[in-house]
Homo-oligomer: 152 residues x 2
């Protein structure tokens, strides 16, 4: 159970009153080891029997984002996906296009590169988005060989 963790997060929100709904969203989020959409979170809280309004889900996610508690990526359809930030600093992820599973990757190289680019271009307040997708080893080997098996 990760209730304690979720509690911590509720406190992490600024003006936050401790409400049942926010707790529910955070609880589900803590239990998700991977990126989830607002719609999924809504469905999950509903399934949990806690029923949080869609509006509140979106609101909570926006707050979490504003306070740097989550990382955000967009899927192919442009839908925003959220994932709790393990600890403070933002991270970049490699996401499998087949199963959707993601893993954080080491991106210091990129962070350094970003700084340098910004500086040499004379830009201030440089922000960056990096998204990696691919097909993970598991999915590749699980996939029926497209040409081999034979259609009948």
């Amino acid at each position: 159970m990760s209730c304690g963790n979720a509690d911590l997060l509720v406190r992490a929100l600024p003006a936050a009153r401790r409400t049942r709904q926010r707790g529910a969203v955070l609880h589900v989020l803590v239990d998700c080891s991977d990126f989830v959409s607002a719609q999924q979170l809504h469905a999950l809280t509903t399934a949990d029997g806690i029923g949080v309004g869609l509006t509140t889900v979106y609101r909570t996610l926006r707050e979490l984002e504003a306070y740097g508690r989550v990382d955000v990526v967009r899927d192919d359809a442009g839908e925003r996906l959220y994932r709790l930030r393990p600890f403070g600093r933002h991270r970049h992820y490699l996401v499998c296009r087949s199963c959707g599973r993601s893993r954080a990757v080491d991106a210091e190289v990129v962070e350094a590169w970003v700084d340098e680019i910004g500086e040499s271009a004379g830009f201030d307040a440089v922000e960056h988005t990096v998204e990696l997708t691919g097909i993970c080893a598991t999915c590749r080997s699980a996939t029926p060989p497209l040409a081999g098996g034979g259609e009948q």
Copy 2:
């Protein structure tokens, strides 16, 4: 005049028939030195008096994207913005959040990093998105100094 350039691009599309509309979209795209949205392109062709249907604009952009003729980024609202790829290879950009102007940046470091990450994680067909935004020098100096004078 960049008609020749646009012509070349029409030819670059695969099954492409040379139509007035596609020509118009490409023509406007060539004239745009920066990222534009589908909606903007639609408005621009209309302003040009050529009037291309929104559907066709989207279709053309999707094709251009599929054939690697344009780079795509998303703005804050999640809207897709398109920009012609100077020559073949995809590029990454540093976009000013204030004036919207963008410049291509040197990203070989990142390309190499991506390859390495993909390989070491055992992922196939790794694709990446990198977006940089900031405030360009021009905009910064044009902006009234927010903190410089000191709060009193």
